[in-house]
Symmetry: C2
Subunit: 210 residues, 2 copies
């Protein structure tokens, strides 16, 4: 890569801003809103930034075992931000101190009643590095099998679907699946070294089931 | 797709919750925080939800014209949410009433000083449908050429890079690129019908330049 435009103020990406003051402006179950007065290491200018201190999040791409049908486990639920329902993969919030891998298995069991046969980390993303300080951790759960009932939070109104890979991919292509963290999870899956083999086996199984 | 678990409360995804009251809890340049008391159409239960009313966002995957080198235009900047620098594609916030396509071209010019030869919509995503009400709109800008200087906001401390596709793809693979909206933009690109042809031409040009 080559530099096209040097910053006129001598921006050095590794030099952090100095944090002069912080105030908690609001708290909710989802985040603490923090106002931070910071000073630029390059210009000395001071500016107040809004930051959302959030718990870590987790998303799980979960496929049922071949003898269970081999489909993707998909959760349909009402989302109050957009005031509409979505189709999403399994996901949720890590409890304080909980390892994201355990959070993912817990959410998988709570939302779908399934346990995985294989459990593969797919890395993580920053949901919004401009204002949030957390990560969303991605996992691939293979050979999932039913192991109990859903256990939902009080306000979770969801339905659980089994979706063949080809049908899910059509939904990715058309934009019916539009949750950024779900799209990011599949981007990570597509760069997982085992993806092409897994995809071929999913497509073979679906062709055989027709 | 087949339904695995019917909701015990008779969840119907198309039935919205009734909004009983809303209160603005906080305002910033980035969002209005709203507390909404809502009633479930299925259980009649009332619950307060936090919603962030946000402006629309835009992200642009921009490639320079072949005679300019054909690389991806990449912005390096300090992100206060994670207190570190990131490599990202061009992006920003739509002005009130501004068409997202115009926002994208404006941000491209402001952040990189380039104008596109071809401009292709890649759809949109919902950055966080659980709590945000906005979309991030994606565009592909091809044959970009220098047309002026960067014009940055007061607090934007950025450097502009030209990154060959193969190098960028390595960064996607390793997780060095971790901004969820950037990952979602490339997922959309990979499902754009012209992608395989574009990818082949980028790789041919890079092989020829070695």
């Amino acid at each position: 890569m080559r530099l096209l435009t040097e910053s006129p103020i001598g921006f050095e990406p590794a030099r952090p801003w100095q944090e002069l003051e912080t105030h908690v402006r609001g708290q909710s179950r989802l985040f603490h809103q923090i106002a931070a007065l910071r000073r630029s290491p390059h210009t000395g200018r001071e500016h107040e930034f809004t930051r959302l201190h959030c718990p870590e999040w987790v998303n799980v791409i979960a496929f049922r075992a071949p003898e269970e049908g081999g489909e993707l486990l998909v959760v349909e639920q009402f989302r109050h931000g957009i005031d509409a329902s979505t189709l999403e993969i399994v996901g949720g919030v890590c409890d304080p101190g909980e390892d994201p891998s355990e959070s993912g298995k817990r959410e998988l069991l709570e939302e779908t009643g399934h346990i995985p046969g294989r459990w593969i980390p797919l890395g993580s993303c920053t949901p919004n590095p401009a204002i949030q300080d957390n990560h969303c951790h991605f996992f691939l759960a293979l050979d999932c099998r039913p192991a109990g009932d859903q256990r939902l939070d009080q306000c979770e109104e969801i339905r659980l679907w089994a979706v063949p890979w080809r049908e899910w991919e059509d939904k990715l292509r058309t934009g019916e699946i539009h949750h950024a963290l779900v799209l990011a999870a599949f981007l990570r899956l597509f760069y997982w070294p085992g993806w092409l083999d897994l995809k071929a086996s999913l497509e073979r199984a679906e062709a055989g089931a027709e």
